[in-house]
């Protein structure tokens, strides 16, 4: 493909300074009130094991100036060292792995579901503009992105967990007995509600944007020309209209992955879902600085990677973007 490889390399290289920028930003926010170790000593002195305290003092390089400390911070980060959690007194990096996986499999399930449902619905809605179905779909979609995800989750928990008793109400897995008898089904049972809530809002966003784009694209001359050439309806709608309509959407989806990853806190808290968002809230409440900063950096990096992935997909779909 003409220029695709060079384009990808360019995007990857571009990510490096952005990565530096993000780590710098996180460092600055974390050190806004001076070396975090000072705050930790004040708040947690009596509660921490002396050995842990020593490790923390080493991690924060007491006594050095901020520039040097940033370099140490970056170095540690690249070696997967994010300090020690004040709540659990375990290395942050060790726990973050499990939390990341938990958040990711929820997000990706929801994303997959929303794409599978969202695209056909949007195409249908665009092709039947102004029909009753279209109006209904658009209305439901606007409601979708007007609803706070965590609240919708709470309502669904009330209905399906407490009232109907069909589904579990909290966590990613059950503590003792698996729901529906089997540990895999147990995971699925716990996944259903949060995934549905997330997917509903994402479908709403996708439908709204894609439908709008489809309507614009369908007005274009080249669509008319495709009909005039005698092409089949399917080839025109999916091969030409959708492909053109979806390209800018890819960027939006990428950005919303970022927002979703960052926005997980409320939803995960509502479901007591032990992912990055939930742990962030716990850590922030407990003023567990190392964990808070660690999670922020990890999420920021995931957002960067999501953006990189969307850039690449965009470059694959739209050849105009590869030249610059």
């Amino acid at each position: 493909m003409s220029g695709l490889l060079t384009y990808i390399i360019r995007r990857v290289l571009f990510m490096i300074p952005v990565f530096i920028g993000v780590t710098l930003f996180t460092f600055v926010v974390g050190n806004a009130a001076g070396n975090p170790i000072n705050l930790i000593l004040i708040s947690f002195k009596g509660h921490l094991d002396p050995g842990i305290l020593a490790q923390l003092e080493a991690y924060y390089h007491v006594g050095q100036n901020p520039f040097v400390r940033y370099l140490y911070y970056l170095w540690d980060l690249l070696h997967f060292d994010l300090g020690i959690s004040l709540q659990s007194q375990l290395p942050v990096a060790r726990e973050i792995g499990a939390w990341t996986w938990t958040t990711l499999y929820l997000q990706f399930s929801a994303l997959a579901l929303s794409i599978v449902i969202g695209i056909p619905v949007a195409v249908f809605s665009a092709r039947h503009q102004y029909s009753k179905a279209d109006v209904a779909i658009t209305g439901v979609a606007v409601f979708g992105y007007s609803t706070p995800t965590f609240w919708l989750g709470i309502i669904l928990i009330y209905i399906f967990s407490f009232y109907l008793r069909w589904l579990p109400s909290a966590g990613a897995v059950s503590a003792v007995t698996p729901w529906w008898g089997n540990w895999i089904l147990d995971r699925i049972a716990h996944l259903i509600l949060p995934m549905t809530v997330l997917a509903y809002v994402q479908v709403a966003v996708i439908v709204r944007l894609l439908r709008g784009n489809m309507l614009e694209v369908l007005r274009q001359d080249f669509i008319l020309a495709a009909y005039a050439s005698g092409l089949k309806e399917r080839a025109i709608i999916y091969g030409h209209a959708l492909k053109n309509a979806i390209t800018p959407i890819v960027t939006i989806i990428g950005l919303s992955i970022g927002t979703a990853l960052a926005g997980a806190p409320a939803l995960e808290t509502a479901f007591t879902w032990p992912g990055l968002g939930f742990e962030f809230v716990q850590a922030a409440s407990a003023l567990d600085l190392p964990t808070v900063m660690g999670i922020t950096v990890i999420i920021a990096i995931m957002v960067l990677l999501a953006n990189l992935a969307t850039d690449i997909v965009y470059g694959f779909l739209d050849p105009r973007v590869r030249v610059s």
Partner: protein
């Protein structure tokens, strides 16, 4: 015949443009519905508290033995376990939530126009740096930082921590989106052929500014404002739900936070404020979409 100043000409032209847009907006049923909803809530926010049966956060019902009651005539939205009347607090909350949303968005737009205009006009490295800063904000997890700052404010500021700080924090993160759009608009208008022609013919910068740039910039701002308020209200509800808001403030998010703990037995506490949130945000979104359709000539033939 008197020669009109560029300003007067620009204003007159904008007036007819607005008249046309208003007519088109009127035809957009969804947009009108959104306007109706928003207006209803604004009225509710201004006058509602006069009709609120109880002061905000009042536990009076507890002493009347009416805590933890489902919705009834006396307590249309029910009561909490601590005696707070959900309906009454929702009315007070409407005022707070709407105020936070509008004020935060206003700050965000004000800063956004400033930075965006600078970014749009500045040549070379300044423009590039500003763009870099704007794009940087798109990449960082803003919600996390908002929560973090709110928590820090909660801990450090204590007594002074009121909704004003929340407003400032929200505004602080709300401007990049606005800047990006404003910058784009300025670029677009500058590159329009007839504007370049006017400039070549000697039109002054202020004429171009008033006649072309300002009308074109105001259009997206109105849409951004409506959608921005929707977004800020959602964010603010999240802040309160997670417990990072100023304590003892009557907002819908606070009510939901209190209601979650007892969702299985008192579902109305979290249910009603949530529905109000959805309705208000829905209204602003419909309004924003309606304005966008009415002001954007491309979408309609």
């Amino acid at each position: 015949m008197q020669k009109e100043t560029a300003e007067q000409e620009g204003l007159k032209r904008s007036a007819t443009q607005w008249a046309v847009a208003w007519r088109r907006f009127r035809r957009n049923k969804a947009g009108v519905a959104g306007l109706a909803i928003v207006t209803a809530f604004v009225l509710l926010a201004i006058f509602g508290p006069f009709f609120a049966p109880y002061p905000p956060r009042s536990s009076e019902s507890l002493f009347q033995g009416e805590a933890g009651q489902p919705p009834s005539w006396k307590h249309p939205f029910g009561t909490e376990i601590n005696g707070i009347d959900v309906f009454s607090d929702s009315l007070w909350g409407a005022r707070n939530d709407l105020w936070i949303g509008v004020a935060a968005t206003a700050i965000g737009i004000a800063i956004g126009i400033g930075v965006g205009a600078l970014a749009g006009y500045a040549r070379g490295s300044i423009g590039a740096i500003l763009l870099g800063i704007i794009q940087f904000f798109f990449v960082i997890p803003t919600l996390l930082l908002i929560l973090l700052l709110s928590r820090i404010a909660q801990v450090l500021v204590l007594h002074g921590f009121g909704i004003t700080l929340i407003i400032l924090i929200l505004g602080l993160f709300g401007w990049p989106g606005v800047s990006y759009v404003i910058r784009g608009e300025i670029f677009r208008v500058r590159e329009l052929e007839f504007v370049q022609a006017e400039k070549a013919l000697g039109a002054s910068n202020s004429r171009i500014l008033f006649k072309h740039i300002i009308p074109n910039v105001l259009t997206p701002v109105v849409v951004l404002a409506s959608l921005g308020i929707a977004g800020n209200i959602l964010t603010e509800v999240v802040i309160f739900f997670l417990g990072f808001g100023p304590p003892n403030t009557a907002t819908w998010g606070q009510l939901i936070e209190e209601g979650v703990q007892y969702i299985s037995i008192y579902p109305w506490v979290a249910g009603f404020p949530g529905m109000l949130t959805v309705l208000l945000v829905f209204g602003f979104n419909l309004l924003g979409d309606g304005l966008s359709d009415a002001l954007n000539p491309r979408l309609r033939e």
